[in-house]
């Protein structure tokens, strides 16, 4: 596309009398900076070119200068309200490199923290989805109910959103006294609350008419494009890393994955909501099966060194499979850290969904991808 006289990255485009090019973004639409260049013919989108990168922080480069423990607080920054899940694969991978065996209680607490965080993330996402569709009740309710779980996480970790709770070797601190009872009560109430969303949002004919049969991603395309998480499962592929490749104690817990077959925006917006109910189920099950006492982390040597080699670990985050690839050269810092984030993997689907859609449907299709710009840019 770029002509040889231009530096790579720049391209010249001819103006057209019929087709209009629109820049959507990169203002902050509630979710981080991201630009979508769309070409419209009348009301219909004929071409779409997503342009991420406005919030690229160089997390992967920064990780090459810090040791395995110091990397924890900054690597969670790309998605602060899903911070436990974005740290999870990094922590699992560095544990394999450092040769650490994790206490059983820490594994359960990690699963609980990760599921609470998934709900916190999904609530935030749902609140913004409400805003995108002009449904302000759906902004207020999730933003308010999210506080229930944020309070729980604050009790566990000491911070509202940037927890830095998972560290190589386990978790930073044990649960506070009486946490199990409080957690069970809050989670039960939370589940009761999110079931009420059906009345106001998911069974709402206005939402259904705006999202049904828009932005359809077929099963074949979902697989070909390598999408993940709710986007993949809304297109009828039953793939959840928690089920397919269980990490920590997910193989001992009782839950199901949610799959819908239509592959439209409505299905993509419904899957995260159904997942939250499964999360509540997982948390209750984990609270019951968790060892009631015991250590929660193994003691690290000062400045531990990773063994020679590379590790790729993946987990299921609030948006989909999140992988972390660490190459170690026997130093205290990792040689290379690569985060393969679900937002970046799902971004490739955006042009496929938008072409042929009406411009007015763009916000609902874009946000149904469960996309988080800051995470995609890292």
């Amino acid at each position: 596309m770029s002509s040889p006289t231009l530096p790579p990255g720049l391209a010249i485009q001819k103006a057209d009398e019929r087709i209009m090019t629109l820049n959507v973004g990169p203002q902050h639409p509630g979710s981080g900076h991201m630009r979508i260049i769309v070409q419209i013919d009348g009301d219909y989108i004929v071409a779409c070119d997503p342009d991420p990168g406005y919030v690229n922080r160089g997390e992967e480069k920064m990780a090459e200068y810090r040791n395995y423990v110091l990397n924890v607080p900054h690597l969670e920054r790309p998605v602060i309200h899903d911070s436990c899940n974005i740290l999870y694969p990094y922590v699992l991978a560095s544990e394999e490199l450092l040769g650490l065996e994790i206490p059983e209680r820490a594994k359960y607490i990690r699963v609980i923290a990760s599921e609470l965080n998934r709900c916190v993330y999904t609530q935030y996402w749902l609140a913004i989805y409400g805003i995108f569709l002009g449904h302000s009740t759906m902004f207020m309710w999730p933003a308010g109910d999210r506080e229930l779980l944020i309070d729980l996480l604050e009790k566990m970790t000491g911070a509202r959103v940037t927890h830095s709770y998972f560290i190589p070797g386990g978790i930073r601190n044990d649960l506070p006294a009486n946490f199990e009872d409080v957690c069970l009560r809050q989670v039960n109430y939370f589940e009761k609350r999110i079931k009420e969303y059906a009345d106001v949002f998911y069974d709402n004919p206005i939402l259904i008419s705006r999202t049904e049969k828009t932005g359809i991603l077929t099963r074949e395309n979902a697989i070909k494009l390598g999408t993940t998480g709710s986007v993949l499962r809304a297109s009828g592929v039953d793939y959840d890393v928690r089920k397919k490749e269980p990490y920590d104690v997910y193989d001992e817990l009782d839950f199901e994955t949610n799959v819908l077959k239509t592959g439209d925006s409505y299905a993509r917006s419904r899957i995260p909501w159904l997942d939250m109910m499964e999360s509540c189920r997982i948390i209750r099950d984990a609270l019951q099966k968790m060892p009631k006492s015991g250590s929660v982390r193994v003691k690290l040597k000062p400045n531990p060194k990773g063994e020679l080699g590379s590790v790729y670990k993946r987990i299921e985050s609030g948006r989909g499979a999140l992988g972390c690839y660490i190459v170690s050269d026997k130093k205290t810092e990792p040689y290379r850290v690569k985060l393969s984030v679900p937002s970046f993997r799902n971004l490739i689907a955006l042009p496929h969904l938008l072409i042929g859609e009406k411009l007015g449907n763009m916000p609902s299709v874009y946000w149904s991808l469960n996309y988080w710009p800051v995470e995609a840019d890292r």
Binding site: M1, P8, G9, Y239, E245, K301, L308
Partner: protein, 205 residues
């Protein structure tokens, strides 16, 4: 702490020795070497995948690591396209989870690692196939116009499209046959070294 400081000098004394020895012969692929520690208990299914690839492509490929659910294969750059085609058509891997570029200035090479996975084949749902290949590395890179090139796998695995664009801008590896070799995350006017190369240093570090 004491055990740490014991390891350090041994490593330091070894490093210059190997570097002087390997000045003239072709450089050894040093950092990610296979760890033949768990030789007797290699997982059977993972080994069978690796063996099928090595059997088909002979000495153009080599096994770098076999762990539970993970198979690592090193491929020569002129065979990567065929190996990927074999992985898709015969082994039934259907998408790429991640594409990572790793810079090895001491070998004058840049490694690109494809992590392939499968949604459709139930027996592969836990597996990740790591295909690693290496491109020549230039001291003064002109991204897109120097010898740092690899064949693109976009025509085999559609899902690598954005990943390869990211590797291109972050490490300067040009993918031949990629339909859209533009920048993705970096600003259009970025005129410095590709930032994930080791000789690009963060300020103050």
């Amino acid at each position: 702490m004491s055990s740490d400081s014991k390891v350090e000098p041994a490593e330091k004394s070894e490093d210059p020795k190997t570097s002087t020895e390997t000045k003239n012969p072709p450089p050894k692929p040093s950092p990610p070497k296979p760890a033949p520690k768990s030789e007797p208990e290699l997982p059977a299914f993972e080994k069978s995948i690796a063996d099928r690839i090595v059997e088909k492509f002979g000495d153009k490929t080599s096994i770098s690591s076999i762990k539970t659910d993970r198979v690592g294969i090193k491929v020569e750059r002129d065979k990567i396209h065929e190996v990927a085609e074999f992985a898709r058509d015969v082994l039934k891997f259907d998408h790429a989870d991640s594409v990572a570029g790793v810079d090895y200035p001491q070998d004058k090479e840049i490694e690109v690692v494809y992590h392939l996975s499968s949604y459709t084949e139930p027996s592969l749902s836990r597996q990740i196939l790591e295909l690693a290949t290496r491109a020549q590395r230039e001291e003064d890179p002109i991204p897109g116009q120097d010898a740092t090139r690899l064949p693109s796998l976009r025509d085999i695995f559609y899902s690598v499209e954005f990943h390869e664009r990211e590797v291109f801008e972050m490490l300067g590896v040009y993918f031949e046959g990629h339909p859209d070799n533009r920048r993705l995350l970096l600003p259009e006017d970025w005129a410095d070294l590709p930032p994930l190369r080791k000789d690009f240093r963060n300020k103050g570090r």
